[in-house]
Subunit: 191 residues, 2 copies
Amino acid sequence: MSRTAHQVELSRAVWDVLASQGIERLTIRAVAAAAGCTTGLVMHRFPNRHALLKHARQLLHERTRERADALEAEAGNPRAALRAVLAQGMALDERTAAESIVWMGFLAAAVGDEDLLTLHRTNNKAWRVRISRLVSATEPDWPEERVTTTAFALIAMVEGAAALASTDPAAYPAAVQSAMLDATLAGFGLT
Amino acid sequence: MSRTAHQVELSRAVWDVLASQGIERLTIRAVAAAAGCTTGLVMHRFPNRHALLKHARQLLHERTRERADALEAEAGNPRAALRAVLAQGMALDERTAAESIVWMGFLAAAVGDEDLLTLHRTNNKAWRVRISRLVSATEPDWPEERVTTTAFALIAMVEGAAALASTDPAAYPAAVQSAMLDATLAGFGLT
DNA sequence: TCGAAGCCGTAACAGCTGTTACGGTAACAG
DNA sequence: CTGTTACCGTAACAGCTGTTACGGCTTCGA
Protein backbone atom coordinates (compact mmCIF):
# COMPACT_ATOMS: atom_id res chain seq x y z
CA MET A 1 0.00 0.00 0.00
CA SER A 2 1.23 3.47 -0.81
CA ARG A 3 2.26 6.06 1.72
CA THR A 4 -0.85 8.24 1.30
CA ALA A 5 -3.18 5.25 1.23
CA HIS A 6 -1.73 4.20 4.56
CA GLN A 7 -2.21 7.68 5.92
CA VAL A 8 -5.89 7.61 4.96
CA GLU A 9 -6.30 4.18 6.51
CA LEU A 10 -4.62 5.29 9.73
CA SER A 11 -6.75 8.44 9.87
CA ARG A 12 -9.82 6.27 9.60
CA ALA A 13 -8.47 4.21 12.48
CA VAL A 14 -8.04 7.40 14.51
CA TRP A 15 -11.70 8.25 13.91
CA ASP A 16 -12.74 4.72 14.87
CA VAL A 17 -10.87 4.78 18.16
CA LEU A 18 -12.05 8.31 18.92
CA ALA A 19 -15.69 7.38 18.32
CA SER A 20 -15.70 4.05 20.10
CA GLN A 21 -13.26 4.47 22.97
CA GLY A 22 -12.89 8.19 23.46
CA ILE A 23 -9.95 10.50 23.51
CA GLU A 24 -8.41 9.03 26.65
CA ARG A 25 -7.80 5.72 24.90
CA LEU A 26 -6.55 7.28 21.68
CA THR A 27 -3.05 5.78 21.82
CA ILE A 28 -0.79 4.81 18.97
CA ARG A 29 -1.17 1.16 19.91
CA ALA A 30 -4.96 1.47 19.83
CA VAL A 31 -4.83 3.17 16.43
CA ALA A 32 -2.50 0.49 15.11
CA ALA A 33 -4.83 -2.25 16.39
CA ALA A 34 -7.85 -0.55 14.76
CA ALA A 35 -5.93 -0.32 11.50
CA GLY A 36 -4.80 -3.94 11.74
CA CYS A 37 -1.11 -3.16 11.78
CA THR A 38 1.66 -2.52 14.30
CA THR A 39 3.03 0.66 15.82
CA GLY A 40 5.99 0.27 13.50
CA LEU A 41 3.89 1.11 10.46
CA VAL A 42 2.24 4.06 12.20
CA MET A 43 5.59 5.56 13.12
CA HIS A 44 6.86 5.01 9.59
CA ARG A 45 3.94 6.92 8.12
CA PHE A 46 3.94 9.78 10.65
CA PRO A 47 6.87 11.33 12.49
CA ASN A 48 4.93 11.34 15.77
CA ARG A 49 1.51 11.08 17.38
CA HIS A 50 0.80 14.76 17.00
CA ALA A 51 1.28 14.67 13.23
CA LEU A 52 -1.06 11.68 13.05
CA LEU A 53 -3.81 13.57 14.87
CA LYS A 54 -3.35 16.67 12.75
CA HIS A 55 -3.59 14.65 9.56
CA ALA A 56 -6.72 12.83 10.73
CA ARG A 57 -8.28 16.15 11.73
CA GLN A 58 -7.47 17.78 8.42
CA LEU A 59 -8.71 14.81 6.42
CA LEU A 60 -12.00 14.82 8.33
CA HIS A 61 -12.47 18.46 7.41
CA GLU A 62 -11.74 17.80 3.74
CA ARG A 63 -14.22 14.95 3.63
CA THR A 64 -16.87 17.15 5.21
CA ARG A 65 -16.21 19.91 2.74
CA GLU A 66 -16.44 17.54 -0.22
CA ARG A 67 -19.74 16.18 1.00
CA ALA A 68 -21.09 19.68 1.48
CA ASP A 69 -19.99 20.60 -2.04
CA ALA A 70 -21.81 17.56 -3.41
CA LEU A 71 -24.98 18.38 -1.47
CA GLU A 72 -24.94 21.94 -2.75
CA ALA A 73 -24.50 20.72 -6.31
CA GLU A 74 -27.37 18.24 -5.99
CA ALA A 75 -29.79 20.73 -4.45
CA GLY A 76 -32.12 22.51 -6.82
CA ASN A 77 -32.01 25.89 -5.11
CA PRO A 78 -30.14 27.76 -2.35
CA ARG A 79 -32.92 27.08 0.16
CA ALA A 80 -32.71 23.31 -0.34
CA ALA A 81 -28.92 23.47 -0.38
CA LEU A 82 -28.87 25.32 2.94
CA ARG A 83 -31.09 22.79 4.60
CA ALA A 84 -29.19 19.81 3.16
CA VAL A 85 -25.80 21.14 4.19
CA LEU A 86 -27.01 21.95 7.70
CA ALA A 87 -28.73 18.57 8.04
CA GLN A 88 -25.54 16.68 7.24
CA GLY A 89 -23.96 18.38 10.25
CA MET A 90 -26.46 16.79 12.61
CA ALA A 91 -26.32 13.28 14.06
CA LEU A 92 -29.21 11.86 12.07
CA ASP A 93 -27.90 8.32 11.60
CA GLU A 94 -25.25 6.06 13.09
CA ARG A 95 -22.55 7.28 10.73
CA THR A 96 -23.07 10.99 11.35
CA ALA A 97 -23.52 10.34 15.07
CA ALA A 98 -20.10 8.69 15.20
CA GLU A 99 -18.70 11.56 13.18
CA SER A 100 -20.11 14.04 15.66
CA ILE A 101 -18.40 12.24 18.52
CA VAL A 102 -15.13 12.37 16.58
CA TRP A 103 -15.71 16.07 15.98
CA MET A 104 -16.20 16.62 19.71
CA GLY A 105 -13.11 14.57 20.53
CA PHE A 106 -10.94 16.72 18.27
CA LEU A 107 -12.40 19.86 19.84
CA ALA A 108 -11.50 18.58 23.28
CA ALA A 109 -8.08 17.50 22.06
CA ALA A 110 -7.48 21.00 20.71
CA VAL A 111 -7.51 22.51 24.20
CA GLY A 112 -3.95 23.58 24.86
CA ASP A 113 -2.82 22.44 21.41
CA GLU A 114 -2.09 25.42 19.21
CA ASP A 115 -1.88 23.42 15.97
CA LEU A 116 -5.24 21.70 16.40
CA LEU A 117 -6.79 24.98 17.54
CA THR A 118 -5.61 26.76 14.41
CA LEU A 119 -6.91 23.91 12.27
CA HIS A 120 -10.29 24.11 13.96
CA ARG A 121 -10.53 27.87 13.58
CA THR A 122 -9.57 27.79 9.92
CA ASN A 123 -12.09 25.06 9.17
CA ASN A 124 -14.81 26.75 11.16
CA LYS A 125 -14.24 30.02 9.36
CA ALA A 126 -14.69 28.26 6.02
CA TRP A 127 -17.88 26.79 7.39
CA ARG A 128 -19.19 30.20 8.45
CA VAL A 129 -18.44 31.59 4.99
CA ARG A 130 -20.27 28.69 3.35
CA ILE A 131 -23.42 28.95 5.46
CA SER A 132 -23.45 32.75 5.20
CA ARG A 133 -23.20 32.45 1.43
CA LEU A 134 -26.13 30.04 1.33
CA VAL A 135 -28.26 32.23 3.61
CA SER A 136 -27.44 35.24 1.48
CA ALA A 137 -28.33 33.34 -1.69
CA THR A 138 -31.64 32.33 -0.14
CA GLU A 139 -32.48 35.88 0.98
CA PRO A 140 -30.50 38.24 -1.27
CA ASP A 141 -32.15 41.34 0.15
CA TRP A 142 -31.05 40.83 3.74
CA PRO A 143 -28.38 43.19 5.07
CA GLU A 144 -25.04 41.58 5.80
CA GLU A 145 -25.41 41.66 9.57
CA ARG A 146 -28.70 39.82 9.45
CA VAL A 147 -27.15 37.22 7.16
CA THR A 148 -24.18 36.52 9.39
CA THR A 149 -26.15 36.53 12.64
CA THR A 150 -28.64 34.09 11.17
CA ALA A 151 -25.89 31.92 9.71
CA PHE A 152 -23.97 31.85 12.99
CA ALA A 153 -27.09 30.91 14.94
CA LEU A 154 -27.87 28.11 12.49
CA ILE A 155 -24.32 26.80 12.74
CA ALA A 156 -24.44 26.86 16.53
CA MET A 157 -27.80 25.13 16.63
CA VAL A 158 -26.65 22.34 14.34
CA GLU A 159 -23.35 21.91 16.17
CA GLY A 160 -25.11 21.79 19.53
CA ALA A 161 -27.79 19.42 18.31
CA ALA A 162 -25.15 17.05 16.93
CA ALA A 163 -23.27 17.05 20.23
CA LEU A 164 -26.43 16.48 22.25
CA ALA A 165 -27.81 13.82 19.92
CA SER A 166 -24.60 11.84 19.68
CA THR A 167 -24.23 11.65 23.46
CA ASP A 168 -27.93 11.00 24.13
CA PRO A 169 -29.51 9.45 21.01
CA ALA A 170 -32.67 8.40 22.82
CA ALA A 171 -33.47 11.97 23.82
CA TYR A 172 -32.70 13.43 20.41
CA PRO A 173 -33.81 10.96 17.71
CA ALA A 174 -33.55 11.90 14.05
CA ALA A 175 -37.14 13.12 13.85
CA VAL A 176 -36.60 15.47 16.78
CA GLN A 177 -33.41 16.86 15.27
CA SER A 178 -35.16 17.42 11.94
CA ALA A 179 -37.99 19.20 13.71
CA MET A 180 -35.46 21.39 15.52
CA LEU A 181 -33.81 22.30 12.23
CA ASP A 182 -37.09 23.00 10.46
CA ALA A 183 -38.41 25.07 13.33
CA THR A 184 -35.25 27.15 13.43
CA LEU A 185 -35.22 27.69 9.67
CA ALA A 186 -38.89 28.63 9.82
CA GLY A 187 -38.23 31.00 12.69
CA PHE A 188 -35.61 32.78 10.63
CA GLY A 189 -37.96 32.93 7.66
CA LEU A 190 -35.88 30.52 5.58
CA THR A 191 -38.55 27.95 4.80
CA MET B 1 -9.89 21.26 56.09
CA SER B 2 -12.88 18.98 56.16
CA ARG B 3 -13.42 16.09 53.86
CA THR B 4 -16.14 17.77 51.78
CA ALA B 5 -14.25 21.06 51.64
CA HIS B 6 -11.30 19.17 50.20
CA GLN B 7 -13.57 17.50 47.66
CA VAL B 8 -14.83 20.89 46.51
CA GLU B 9 -11.28 22.22 46.28
CA LEU B 10 -10.14 19.21 44.28
CA SER B 11 -13.13 19.48 41.96
CA ARG B 12 -12.18 23.07 41.32
CA ALA B 13 -8.68 21.87 40.51
CA VAL B 14 -10.13 19.36 38.05
CA TRP B 15 -11.97 22.18 36.30
CA ASP B 16 -8.81 24.29 36.24
CA VAL B 17 -6.71 21.58 34.63
CA LEU B 18 -9.47 20.67 32.20
CA ALA B 19 -9.85 24.29 31.09
CA SER B 20 -6.16 25.18 30.87
CA GLN B 21 -4.46 21.96 29.78
CA GLY B 22 -7.18 19.81 28.29
CA ILE B 23 -8.39 16.33 29.00
CA GLU B 24 -5.17 14.64 27.91
CA ARG B 25 -3.23 16.25 30.73
CA LEU B 26 -5.93 15.66 33.33
CA THR B 27 -3.84 13.43 35.57
CA ILE B 28 -4.03 13.01 39.33
CA ARG B 29 -0.63 14.64 39.68
CA ALA B 30 -1.78 17.63 37.62
CA VAL B 31 -4.92 17.96 39.74
CA ALA B 32 -2.90 17.73 42.92
CA ALA B 33 -0.51 20.41 41.65
CA ALA B 34 -3.43 22.69 40.73
CA ALA B 35 -4.90 22.19 44.19
CA GLY B 36 -1.54 22.79 45.86
CA CYS B 37 -1.33 19.40 47.51
CA THR B 38 0.08 15.96 46.79
CA THR B 39 -1.42 12.87 45.23
CA GLY B 40 -1.65 11.42 48.72
CA LEU B 41 -4.41 13.85 49.67
CA VAL B 42 -6.29 13.26 46.43
CA MET B 43 -6.30 9.51 46.93
CA HIS B 44 -7.40 9.96 50.54
CA ARG B 45 -10.42 12.02 49.46
CA PHE B 46 -11.44 9.84 46.51
CA PRO B 47 -11.08 6.08 46.08
CA ASN B 48 -9.78 6.52 42.52
CA ARG B 49 -9.49 8.87 39.57
CA HIS B 50 -12.88 7.92 38.20
CA ALA B 51 -14.67 8.89 41.39
CA LEU B 52 -12.84 12.22 41.35
CA LEU B 53 -14.05 12.98 37.83
CA LYS B 54 -17.61 11.94 38.64
CA HIS B 55 -17.68 14.18 41.69
CA ALA B 56 -16.27 17.15 39.77
CA ARG B 57 -18.81 16.59 37.01
CA GLN B 58 -21.71 16.34 39.44
CA LEU B 59 -20.62 19.41 41.38
CA LEU B 60 -20.37 21.43 38.17
CA HIS B 61 -23.94 20.49 37.39
CA GLU B 62 -25.16 21.48 40.84
CA ARG B 63 -23.43 24.85 40.61
CA THR B 64 -25.02 25.46 37.21
CA ARG B 65 -28.44 24.53 38.53
CA GLU B 66 -28.10 26.83 41.54
CA ARG B 67 -27.09 29.73 39.31
CA ALA B 68 -30.02 29.07 37.02
CA ASP B 69 -32.37 28.99 40.01
CA ALA B 70 -31.00 32.33 41.18
CA LEU B 71 -31.38 33.88 37.73
CA GLU B 72 -34.96 32.67 37.52
CA ALA B 73 -35.73 34.13 40.93
CA GLU B 74 -34.20 37.48 40.04
CA ALA B 75 -35.98 37.79 36.71
CA GLY B 76 -39.22 39.72 36.69
CA ASN B 77 -41.08 37.50 34.26
CA PRO B 78 -40.73 34.15 32.44
CA ARG B 79 -39.49 35.87 29.29
CA ALA B 80 -36.62 37.57 31.09
CA ALA B 81 -35.90 34.40 33.06
CA LEU B 82 -35.66 32.37 29.86
CA ARG B 83 -33.21 34.76 28.29
CA ALA B 84 -31.10 35.07 31.42
CA VAL B 85 -30.87 31.32 31.95
CA LEU B 86 -29.96 30.70 28.32
CA ALA B 87 -27.41 33.54 28.33
CA GLN B 88 -25.55 32.06 31.29
CA GLY B 89 -25.00 28.94 29.18
CA MET B 90 -23.03 30.88 26.60
CA ALA B 91 -19.34 31.85 26.76
CA LEU B 92 -19.90 35.56 27.29
CA ASP B 93 -16.92 36.24 29.57
CA GLU B 94 -13.69 34.57 30.59
CA ARG B 95 -15.30 32.64 33.41
CA THR B 96 -18.14 31.17 31.37
CA ALA B 97 -15.76 30.52 28.47
CA ALA B 98 -13.56 28.43 30.74
CA GLU B 99 -16.66 26.69 32.03
CA SER B 100 -17.71 25.86 28.51
CA ILE B 101 -14.34 24.26 27.82
CA VAL B 102 -14.72 22.20 30.99
CA TRP B 103 -18.20 21.20 29.86
CA MET B 104 -16.81 20.06 26.52
CA GLY B 105 -14.02 18.16 28.22
CA PHE B 106 -16.46 16.20 30.35
CA LEU B 107 -18.54 15.43 27.29
CA ALA B 108 -15.48 14.06 25.51
CA ALA B 109 -14.46 12.17 28.64
CA ALA B 110 -17.91 10.58 28.77
CA VAL B 111 -17.32 8.69 25.53
CA GLY B 112 -17.04 5.06 26.51
CA ASP B 113 -17.66 5.87 30.18
CA GLU B 114 -21.10 4.69 31.22
CA ASP B 115 -21.10 6.57 34.54
CA LEU B 116 -20.23 9.93 33.04
CA LEU B 117 -22.67 9.33 30.19
CA THR B 118 -25.49 8.65 32.63
CA LEU B 119 -24.59 11.75 34.61
CA HIS B 120 -24.64 13.84 31.45
CA ARG B 121 -27.97 12.46 30.31
CA THR B 122 -29.60 12.99 33.67
CA ASN B 123 -28.35 16.56 33.90
CA ASN B 124 -29.31 17.34 30.32
CA LYS B 125 -32.80 16.01 30.89
CA ALA B 126 -33.21 18.34 33.87
CA TRP B 127 -32.01 21.15 31.64
CA ARG B 128 -34.55 20.30 28.95
CA VAL B 129 -37.32 20.27 31.53
CA ARG B 130 -36.21 23.65 32.86
CA ILE B 131 -36.06 25.38 29.47
CA SER B 132 -39.31 23.78 28.34
CA ARG B 133 -41.00 25.02 31.51
CA LEU B 134 -39.73 28.55 30.89
CA VAL B 135 -40.82 28.51 27.25
CA SER B 136 -44.23 27.22 28.26
CA ALA B 137 -44.53 29.91 30.93
CA THR B 138 -43.66 32.55 28.33
CA GLU B 139 -46.16 31.23 25.80
CA PRO B 140 -48.83 29.32 27.76
CA ASP B 141 -51.02 28.79 24.69
CA TRP B 142 -48.45 26.85 22.67
CA PRO B 143 -49.07 23.13 22.22
CA GLU B 144 -46.62 20.85 23.96
CA GLU B 145 -44.78 19.81 20.82
CA ARG B 146 -44.08 23.39 19.81
CA VAL B 147 -42.81 24.10 23.32
CA THR B 148 -40.38 21.19 23.38
CA THR B 149 -39.13 21.67 19.83
CA THR B 150 -38.48 25.34 20.53
CA ALA B 151 -36.84 24.58 23.85
CA PHE B 152 -34.61 21.88 22.33
CA ALA B 153 -33.54 24.19 19.52
CA LEU B 154 -32.71 26.95 21.99
CA ILE B 155 -30.68 24.54 24.11
CA ALA B 156 -28.77 23.28 21.09
CA MET B 157 -28.06 26.80 19.85
CA VAL B 158 -26.71 27.91 23.22
CA GLU B 159 -24.64 24.75 23.67
CA GLY B 160 -23.19 25.08 20.18
CA ALA B 161 -22.50 28.78 20.55
CA ALA B 162 -20.68 28.18 23.83
CA ALA B 163 -18.50 25.49 22.25
CA LEU B 164 -17.70 27.63 19.22
CA ALA B 165 -17.06 30.76 21.23
CA SER B 166 -14.83 29.12 23.81
CA THR B 167 -12.60 27.59 21.14
CA ASP B 168 -12.56 30.68 18.91
CA PRO B 169 -13.28 33.77 21.05
CA ALA B 170 -12.20 36.19 18.34
CA ALA B 171 -14.78 34.87 15.89
CA TYR B 172 -17.60 34.79 18.45
CA PRO B 173 -17.25 37.76 20.82
CA ALA B 174 -19.88 38.40 23.47
CA ALA B 175 -21.80 40.87 21.31
CA VAL B 176 -22.08 38.33 18.50
CA GLN B 177 -23.27 35.61 20.86
CA SER B 178 -25.88 37.96 22.33
CA ALA B 179 -27.07 38.86 18.84
CA MET B 180 -27.34 35.15 18.01
CA LEU B 181 -29.44 34.53 21.11
CA ASP B 182 -31.70 37.53 20.53
CA ALA B 183 -32.18 36.68 16.87
CA THR B 184 -33.10 33.10 17.73
CA LEU B 185 -35.51 34.15 20.48
CA ALA B 186 -37.06 36.69 18.12
CA GLY B 187 -37.34 34.06 15.38
CA PHE B 188 -39.29 31.83 17.75
CA GLY B 189 -41.51 34.73 18.77
CA LEU B 190 -40.14 34.82 22.31
CA THR B 191 -39.05 38.47 22.41
C1' DT C 1 1.97 14.98 79.65
C1' DC C 2 0.91 11.01 77.46
C1' DG C 3 -1.06 7.81 74.26
C1' DA C 4 -3.89 6.89 70.41
C1' DA C 5 -5.80 7.81 66.08
C1' DG C 6 -6.02 9.32 61.71
C1' DC C 7 -4.44 12.66 58.25
C1' DC C 8 -1.50 13.06 54.38
C1' DG C 9 3.28 13.60 52.31
C1' DT C 10 6.84 10.37 50.37
C1' DA C 11 8.18 6.82 47.91
C1' DA C 12 7.55 2.75 45.58
C1' DC C 13 5.17 -0.41 42.29
C1' DA C 14 3.50 -2.47 37.91
C1' DG C 15 1.57 -1.19 33.72
C1' DC C 16 1.12 1.69 29.89
C1' DT C 17 2.78 5.69 27.01
C1' DG C 18 5.40 7.71 22.85
C1' DT C 19 9.47 6.93 20.57
C1' DT C 20 13.79 4.67 18.91
C1' DA C 21 16.70 0.98 17.20
C1' DC C 22 17.37 -3.24 15.10
C1' DG C 23 16.81 -6.96 11.91
C1' DG C 24 14.24 -10.06 8.88
C1' DT C 25 11.96 -10.04 4.61
C1' DA C 26 9.84 -8.71 0.36
C1' DA C 27 10.47 -6.19 -3.94
C1' DC C 28 13.04 -4.94 -7.58
C1' DA C 29 17.03 -3.59 -10.80
C1' DG C 30 20.77 -5.79 -13.30
C1' DC D 1 19.89 -15.55 -9.75
C1' DT D 2 22.02 -11.96 -6.93
C1' DG D 3 22.71 -7.68 -4.52
C1' DT D 4 20.44 -3.72 -2.84
C1' DT D 5 16.99 -1.10 -1.06
C1' DA D 6 13.26 0.06 1.60
C1' DC D 7 9.42 -1.47 4.25
C1' DC D 8 7.67 -2.66 8.64
C1' DG D 9 7.21 -6.05 12.58
C1' DT D 10 9.60 -6.84 17.10
C1' DA D 11 11.54 -5.47 20.94
C1' DA D 12 13.52 -2.30 23.86
C1' DC D 13 13.84 2.26 26.25
C1' DA D 14 12.84 6.10 29.49
C1' DG D 15 9.15 8.54 31.27
C1' DC D 16 4.69 8.97 33.00
C1' DT D 17 0.26 6.82 34.68
C1' DG D 18 -3.00 5.25 38.57
C1' DT D 19 -2.64 3.06 42.73
C1' DT D 20 -0.69 1.15 47.08
C1' DA D 21 2.12 1.00 51.26
C1' DC D 22 4.57 3.11 54.72
C1' DG D 23 5.61 6.26 58.34
C1' DG D 24 6.09 10.94 60.40
C1' DC D 25 3.21 14.27 62.02
C1' DT D 26 -0.63 16.68 64.03
C1' DT D 27 -4.62 16.56 66.90
C1' DC D 28 -7.25 15.52 70.68
C1' DG D 29 -9.15 13.22 74.79
C1' DA D 30 -7.74 11.83 79.50
